[in-house]
């Protein structure tokens, strides 16, 4: 057989080396390109929301500039008059908006904390926000499991939907500890 790097033995040697050296795998076997944060099955073009070569996710809608009439660009003249963000004053709808559109941002945590304070709970497995229907107590309780009618927030249709289901309260997320995240991120 060809006894250098250009035959089957050469390929075999490289593959065997790659088994023990993860650094060699990248070129030997390539990588799963579906895991680079791009929706390669999307029908629409990817470039308009491309987050950049080093981003794990597409750009957020609020980060994508659009050509608006210059009269719309009023930030400079009103920014000193804008009131501070006060999540306690906002309706649930806006809080959900902030939660779903500020992925990977402190704002997402802050919105989650405020929703939690309003008795919404984030189900860590179903990945939806749920809350008990007002005035409704669970009609079945068994340890950490309860059964009843709840509202869940459907982010696809953007509305609260009433549904009966069984909830394992262990799987409901606790309130995010904002100060701990702030300390970890090292940001003001």
């Amino acid at each position: 057989m060809v006894n250098n790097q250009f035959g089957m033995v050469g390929l075999l040697t490289f593959l065997r080396a790659a088994e023990t050296d993860p650094n060699l795998v990248t070129l030997a076997m390539g990588q799963d390109l579906m895991a680079l944060g791009l929706n390669l099955t999307a029908v629409e073009n990817l470039y308009p929301s491309f987050g950049g070569p080093f981003a794990d996710a597409p750009a957020r809608p609020q980060d994508i500039d659009y050509n608006v009439p210059p009269e719309y660009l009023i930030n400079m003249s009103i920014r000193d008059k804008l009131s501070k963000l006060t999540l306690q004053k906002y309706k649930d709808d806006l809080l959900f908006y902030l939660f779903y559109t500020n992925v990977g941002d402190m704002m997402q945590l802050a919105a989650a904390a405020e929703l939690h304070s309003r008795d919404w709970r984030y189900h860590t497995e179903e990945k939806v926000w749920i809350t008990r229907m007002p005035g409704m107590t669970p009609y079945e309780k068994n340890g950490t499991t309860e059964r009843g009618t709840y509202f869940y927030f459907d982010a696809q249709t953007w509305r609260r939907v009433a549904k009966e289901f069984q909830v394992d309260t262990v799987k409901l997320d606790k309130c995010p500890n904002i100060s701990a995240y702030v300390a970890m991120s090292g940001q003001p």
């Binding site: 057989m1 060809v2 250098n4 250009f6 035959g7 089957m8 033995v9 050469g10 390929l11 075999l12 490289f14 593959l15 065997r16 050296d21 650094n23 060699l24 990248t26 070129l27 030997a28 076997m29 390539g30 990588q31 799963d32 390109l33 680079l36 944060g37 791009l38 390669l40 999307a42 073009n45 990817l46 470039y47 308009p48 929301s49 491309f50 950049g52 070569p53 080093f54 981003a55 750009a59 994508i64 500039d65 050509n67 210059p70 660009l73 009023i74 930030n75 400079m76 003249s77 920014r79 000193d80």
Partner: protein
């Protein structure tokens, strides 16, 4: 050097004055009024009195912005970005409003001057600071200037092609090989969603495609020496992964672009970057429906698209150098003589005696593609299509068979790679070269040739997806057609891992 006395003080005063104008709340109501008043001031201070004071002003202002970034590295970026964005606003307004409204030259001359100044400062900065070089100031200037000059505006729309050309030229000058400390920012800039949209989608008649291909070639050329090492250090891996993301966006949104320039890209991608090369070779035109390569009894030569000639936007025939070699090649293809041409072929391709870099790869690739396309034309002239019967016994196959036999293992590997680089979507090149490589396997006079053909095809198949359609159908034919007696070869069973690999690939193929 030798700024006139007081010039720097005046320039600093003007720059800071402009920034405060931009940041003032009243500016939003009538930005042009503020600009107009500022231009008057610039005139009063002599900045607009000629090319020299203008150049000095921009050189000072750019350097001031960069110095600001170095002094404030530990501060939030908002502060320096406010300053730089205001400076960029001044540049864009000056470019937009300079000269007569219908005269683009004044505007473009000014833009090119300023881009040249920024580039000059960047390159000098890199030499001065070396590993202490900070990219953020230059990154901000380039991206904000590009965004400002490509907004929807009738004046700017008229000069959009030359503006984009100016930026492409600038990015080529500061390509990673020349400014490695800027390489990550550079990739961000050339793959910014607005830049990609402008250059690949919005410029009419694909006028930006060639320029963008040059930038990608710059990127591949830079990565090549590091990727050849196979073991990727973290900084290299990071840049490589970013490159893959960009290629995926291009594969998804602009497959025709990758199709058109695949040849130029394969010239500069190292042979061991198999997945990246597959990314370049896998795209197909969006209006094409690819038949499932695993369809039983797929009749490739009956496919509607198989006769179509793919566009190759590179003058590969012109790459066959020297001219005397090209002349001899054309003579041989025409007359199938003299036979000595074949024996001298190898020496034309070899450039050194160093193992691993013996051969002129771009010349090899060009030779293979040129001979193949000449062969297709020759077959077509007889109203035939490429089949095993039509591709044999001709000058073209003489050349390919001679290369397969006469080259050493390294040269043969590169030669076979050049053929495999044409196994893409259904078209006449894919069809011809698929027949060609199968013919070389079947007619091989030594098992080494068959082994290396198998190696070249297999290594392209065992990496993660994507895989070019032409590669799949060729390999399927090789393992399924009893004519090739594929499973009887010793190299198929040389090691348990290899056997398992073949079985696994064959299982998914069959």
């Amino acid at each position: 050097n030798d700024d006139p006395p007081g010039f720097l003080e005046r320039a600093e005063f003007l720059l800071k004055d402009w920034v405060s104008i931009v940041l003032s709340p009243n500016n939003g109501r009538d930005p042009l009024k503020g600009f107009s008043m500022f231009v008057t001031k610039m005139n009063m201070h002599g900045i607009l009195k000629g090319d020299e004071p203008l150049t000095r002003f921009f050189r000072f202002a750019t350097q001031y912005c960069i110095d600001l970034t170095y002094r404030n590295m530990n501060e939030p970026k908002t502060k320096i970005f406010q300053f730089i964005d205001a400076y960029v606003r001044l540049i864009s307004l000056l470019v937009k409003h300079s000269g007569e409204s219908g005269n683009a030259n004044t505007k473009l001359n000014l833009l090119n001057k300023i881009l040249g100044i920024v580039v000059g400062i960047l390159l000098q900065d890199q030499e001065v600071h070396t590993t202490g070089f900070q990219q953020v100031g230059y990154h901000r200037i380039f991206i904000m200037l590009f965004l400002e000059l490509t907004t929807h505006d009738p004046v700017l729309e008229n000069i959009s092609l030359p503006v984009i050309t100016a930026f492409c030229h600038t990015f080529h000058i500061i390509r990673p090989a020349c400014a490695p400390g800027f390489c990550y920012s550079w990739l961000e800039l050339i793959s910014h969603r607005v830049f990609i949209g402008r250059i690949l989608a919005l410029l009419p008649q694909q006028k930006g495609w060639h320029m963008y291909s040059q930038l990608l070639i710059d990127l591949f050329k830079y990565l090549a020496p590091f990727l050849r090492n196979a073991e990727l250090a973290k900084p290299v891996h990071h840049l490589y992964k970013g490159t893959l993301r960009v290629l995926l966006v291009l594969l998804h949104d602009f497959p025709e672009f990758l199709c058109d320039y695949h040849f130029a890209f394969c010239d500069v991608i190292p042979p061991n970057c198999i997945q990246m090369r597959n990314l370049i070779l896998s795209p197909y035109p969006r209006n094409m429906r690819l038949p499932d390569p695993f369809t039983p009894n797929l009749k490739v030569d009956m496919l509607t698209d198989i006769g179509g000639s793919p566009r190759v936007s590179i003058n590969y025939a012109g790459s066959i150098q020297p001219a005397s070699f090209k002349k001899d090649l054309d003579s041989y293809l025409k007359a199938r003589a003299p036979v000595t041409f074949l024996s001298e072929l190898r020496s034309n391709l070899q450039i050194s005696n160093d193992v691993g870099s013996r051969y002129n790869i771009p010349l090899m690739n060009a030779l293979v593609l040129y001979v193949g396309t000449q062969a297709i034309a020759h077959i077509r002239s007889k109203n035939l299509g490429p089949t095993m019967a039509t591709i044999m016994h001709c000058a073209h196959m003489d050349i390919f068979q001679n290369l397969a036999v006469d080259l050493d293992t390294e040269g043969r590997y590169l030669f076979l790679n050049a053929i495999a680089n044409q196994l893409r979507y259904p078209n006449s090149h894919t069809h011809y070269f698929s027949c060609c490589i199968l013919y070389l396997f079947g007619e091989a006079n030594s098992e080494a040739i068959q082994e290396q053909i198998t190696r070249v095809l297999l290594e392209r198949l065992i990496v993660n997806r994507p895989h070019p359609w032409g590669l799949l159908i060729t390999f399927i034919e090789l393992i399924k057609n009893p004519v090739y007696k594929f499973w009887e070869h010793d190299f198929v069973h040389c090691a348990p891992e290899i056997e398992r690999l073949f079985e696994s690939v064959a299982k998914s193929c069959m």
